[in-house]
């Protein structure tokens, strides 16, 4: 991690379109952006592609970046938009993967049909509600961070989570242990 003075110089250089500064920031933040995206799309391969797409957008938007602000927060917001675009494109035809990757393997105590119905209902949520619900309910991120990454207010995040839960309640009627 560079010193604060070095970091601010790096950010200034990036804002002026310096490719070397972009490379340094890319190497510094790629893992963080990837982790953020994989939480949203829950597919490691797709998350790699979307990380590249997010950094491409970041590079294109360098002139709009304010070096006094946090690069990480700005990158997360762009990454969220890239993930949102992907989820919008992928819905609603996308079916659930047959094999769920090991790292998100379900609890064996949960019946397969219940699990599938829950996941299906979740995937059918509108993309903006799905992202808010993923971050708030599954990843348990603070509402403030979610609001920042989505570029909306904390109240709007809570409203999205509430709407997501309302839809899920209707879809999962009669389900549960």
């Amino acid at each position: 991690m560079p010193l604060p003075e070095q970091q601010s110089v790096l950010l200034e250089q990036f804002a002026h379109g310096d490719l070397a500064a972009f490379e340094a920031l890319f190497r510094q933040f790629q893992a963080e952006v990837y982790r953020w995206i994989v939480r949203l799309v829950r597919d490691p391969g797709v998350a790699e592609d979307l990380s590249l797409e997010a950094f491409w957008r970041i590079y294109q938007a360098h002139a709009r970046f304010d070096p006094k602000r946090s690069f990480g927060a700005w990158a997360r917001r762009i990454a969220t938009n890239a993930a949102l675009d992907h989820l919008k494109r992928a819905r609603p035809q996308e079916s659930l993967p047959e094999e769920v990757p090991a790292a998100i393997a379900p609890n064996p105590a949960v019946q397969r049909d219940i699990r599938e119905r829950t996941m299906q209902a979740f995937r059918q949520l509108p993309a903006n509600l799905q992202i808010a619900a993923t971050l708030a309910l599954i990843e348990e991120q603070p509402y403030k961070d979610i609001a920042e990454s989505l570029g909306i207010s904390v109240g709007a995040v809570k409203l999205r989570v509430f709407r997501a839960l309302r839809i899920l309640r209707k879809k999962l009627r009669g389900i549960g242990p």
Binding site: A31, R35, Y59, N107, I138, L172, G176
Partner: protein
């Protein structure tokens, strides 16, 4: 049929969709660099110089505009 309450929904979601704890394995910079090179092929400087010379030439000799249009 009754609707499950919010806490039951959240519990179901957490049991069905576990937090995604993936770490980035490869360094993505080589792919990023390739993408940058593919998508942003810059206009060579001599193309801009040629365009500037053409504009200057037409400014000083506007009578040549029809000749240029004829040859285009």
């Amino acid at each position: 049929m009754t609707e499950p309450n919010d806490s039951k929904i959240v519990a179901l979601l957490k049991q069905s969709i576990r937090p995604a704890d993936f770490e980035l394995q490869p360094d993505l910079w080589p792919q990023m660099l390739r993408r940058l090179q593919e998508r942003s092929a810059p206009v060579p400087w001599f193309d801009w110089a040629l365009l500037a010379a053409l504009v200057l030439w037409l400014c000083f000799a506007p009578g040549n505009i029809p000749v240029l249009l004829y040859h285009l």
